[in-house]
Amino acid sequence: MSAATLHLLLAAAMFCIGLAGALCRRNAILVLIGIELMLNAANLNFLTFWKYGPQPQPLDGPVFVLFSVAIAAAEAAVGLALIIAIHRRYRTTQLEEISRLRG
């Protein structure tokens, strides 16, 4: 089992843990935590294929990871601002109680 395999298995496990969290939790912030874990697993995959890939284009993986980190930071800021605004209006962050848009 090579180092690339180990890193890919680790990234897959991290992604699936984040997916389970995003599917099972009922609090909006905890769902966001699961999404952050999935984004980080994708970053680990980028770096694994950069490090152990067959034709290493110089610095392709790190550039991808840099842009991904910047976009994830923006996503977290906007998502948490939305959660704070929803909490101010509905006094809850439980997802099943925020059902005003349900038809």
């Binding site: 089992m1 180092a3 690339a4 395999t5 180990l6 890193h7 298995l9 680790l10 897959a12 496990a13 991290m14 992604f15 699936c16 843990i17 984040g18 997916l19 389970a20 969290g21 599917l23 099972c24 009922r26 609090n27 912030i29 905890l30 966001l32 935590i33 952050e36 874990l37 980080n40 970053n43 680990l44 770096l47 490090k51 152990y52 067959p54 290493p56 610095l59 790190p62 550039v63 990871v65 842009f67 980190v69 910047a70 976009i71 994830a72 930071a73 923006a74 996503e75 977290a76 800021a77 948490l80 601002a81 939305l82 704070i84 605004a85 101010r88 209006r89 809850t92 962050t93 439980q94």
Partner: protein, 191 residues
């Protein structure tokens, strides 16, 4: 391959940190603890990056994720804690989500272990990352995406502040703009 064994003790420790922190972050019932366990998992991932030779990205990971995103999540948990019950109720059917995740991991692991042998081979010169090369690449070939990301971060900063501003006449709590302070810091850090 470097002379060190593939499954070294260091990799086992950092992988345990990542997986243990992730599991605790999604399964902990106390929300503040969940946010702090997320920080533990992200520190572990930064250590994985450092071991892979991507030092700059490891430190970026600590600066942006641990220093900004995890702290911001803990702030949001603390700000929204008052009204809900202290402990979250369990999901109706957590088995479905967990089963889906386990199934997906099984499929991914099968694919990773049964890939064609030449798909991933360690290149003869292992790639290294010099920050100087990364900077030149970003400022020459990737200049337009870099500027676009800067624009995106500015828009996210303004949008987060606008969304979190208290609307007049809605907030029943008299204490004013306590939501916008925490959301303004993280987008500026990666630029």
């Amino acid at each position: 391959m470097p002379p060190e064994p593939v499954l070294s003790l260091a990799f086992a420790i950092v992988a345990g940190l990542v997986l243990g922190g992730s599991v605790a972050a999604v399964s902990c019932r106390n929300r503040v603890h969940a946010g702090l366990f997320l920080a533990v998992a992200l520190v572990g991932l930064a250590l994985v990056f450092l071991r892979m030779g991507a030092e700059f990205l490891g430190f970026i990971q600590i600066l942006v994720y641990v220093g900004a995103v995890a702290v911001l999540i803990v702030f949001a948990i603390l700000l929204t804690r008052g009204s809900d019950s202290a402990h979250e109720r369990r999901s109706n059917a957590p088995g479905i989500g967990i089963g889906l995740a386990v199934l997906l991991w099984g499929v991914l692991a099968w694919g990773i272990l049964h890939r064609s042998p030449g798909a991933i081979a360690t290149p003869s010169p292992p790639p290294s990352m010099a920050v100087r090369d990364l900077g030149e690449r970003l400022l020459r070939e990737e200049l337009l995406p870099l500027q676009t990301v800067g624009l995106l971060l500015t828009a996210a900063l303004i949008g987060a502040a606008l969304i979190a501003l208290p609307e007049p006449g809605i907030s029943p709590r008299p204490s004013g703009s306590h939501g916008s302070a925490g959301t303004e810091t993280p987008p500026s850090s990666p630029t």
